[in-house]
């Protein structure tokens, strides 16, 4: 029952999801709309619990076991609680504040301010590090060992040079040639690959609906 009932739910709800596209009857469509707008939305919102709970459990365990770099786990936990309190009680629009004041004089600590001045810089900079790792990898690992690798390299060079405006002055036909590479041979290769991916995803979705793929059930419970 602990496994059969969820598998039955997946099948029934899945067939309903597919049927709603295939059957244009107004009653089916209106039930589908209510299901999406109310049921699915609320259940999906609660799924945040999984992520937050996992993070908190991970960091509490690190603190309890005094694992490597455990003091930093306090930063995550405190930052999570402080920003959640500010957001929940301070409101999300500075023009419509909540019960918690979110500024001291001219210094604001509204959730939007935290987003703009903490989240954006940190997230953007973490991804900006990839530029350096990519450059280092290109220098150390990108080798024209055979004809195919050389072909890849040449195509990459043409695209890199074609992507910048200066090339149009130095080698006028290059940007258009780069665009042709993207529009013709690249399209052919990516389309062939995407057919395989699409059919694979279709097969996986079908396996989930039919209960053949059961990895999402996790362990435990018979």
């Amino acid at each position: 029952m602990k496994r059969q009932l969820p598998l039955l739910i997946v099948l029934v709800v899945g067939i309903f999801g597919a049927a709603a596209f295939l059957i244009p009857h107004p009653m089916v469509r209106s039930v589908d709309e209510v299901f999406r707008n109310d049921v699915l939305r609320i259940i999906a919102a609660f799924s945040l619990v999984l992520g937050i709970g996992s993070i908190l459990r991970h960091h509490f365990m690190k603190i309890k076991r005094k694992a490597e770099h455990w003091p930093f786990s306090y930063i995550t936990v405190v930052a999570l609680f402080v920003s959640a309190v500010i957001g929940l009680f301070g409101g999300i629009d500075p023009a419509r504040p909540g019960i918690l004041p979110t500024h001291i004089g001219g210094f604001s600590f509204h959730i939007q301010t935290l987003y703009t001045n903490i989240m954006i810089p940190l997230a953007a900079t973490m991804f900006a590090l990839l530029a350096f790792f990519m450059a280092s990898a290109a220098y150390r690992a990108f080798r024209a060992r055979n004809f195919e690798a050389t072909l890849l390299l040449v195509a990459a060079f043409i695209l890199m040079l074609g992507a910048v405006p200066l090339t149009r002055i130095i080698i006028p036909p290059l940007p258009d040639f780069a665009e042709w590479i993207l529009a013709v041979p690249n399209t052919a290769a990516k389309r062939g690959i995407s057919f395989g991916i699409s059919l694979g995803m279709f097969a996986t979705s079908l396996k989930i609906l039919l209960g053949i793929e059961r990895g999402w059930l996790g362990g435990g419970g018979s």
């Binding site: 597919a18 609660f46 999984l50 936990v77 500010i86 301010t113």
Partner: protein
Amino acid sequence: MNISTDPWVWIAAILTLAVFSFLYRENPFYRFAEHLFVGVSNGYAITFTWHRILVPYLLNPVGHGQKLWLIPIAIVGALYFTRFIPKVSWMVRFPIAIVLGYSAGASIPRSIAATVIEQLKATIITRASFADVQQGIWAVIILIGVICTITYFFFSTERKGALKPVSYVGVIFIMVGFGASFGYTVMARISLFIGRLQFLLGDWLGLIR
């Protein structure tokens, strides 16, 4: 030089430099920034999930005596909490089943239509493809490339006879495609770094007008 006097810009700049310090070597400043990011981003998600989903779609209607049938739905959603209670953790399968089932079912007919049938229609050559002769020639090349690429990924039989050269042509197309992706990936990664420098040099130090 026109250095910013906004304390938050200074905080953002210091956090940016803390993350960049990882390039020299891992250090406590980077680790602090990393942990701070995880905490604040989750607090942000909690905020908006509460204010823009749970309050308007659940608490407000139920609080006004409307849509009381949402209460059992909310209970099903709350079953996500059972993930952290070992004795009843199996109950988390119910809300997952509903979301996963609908998503999988809804995607099947639509993604077949969008990613297989429409793409097949675009690959097939008709007389209309040659309305512009040049575009018609490119369409033929694309058709050949798609067939050869798919042939390359066919591993159920030994590559001999006609299959071998066809697969090799597929390899050529794939290498050109991956080269194009790599070239654009270089552009993407550099752009992300340029964005940060525009902030540091422009918004913080005022060196870029």
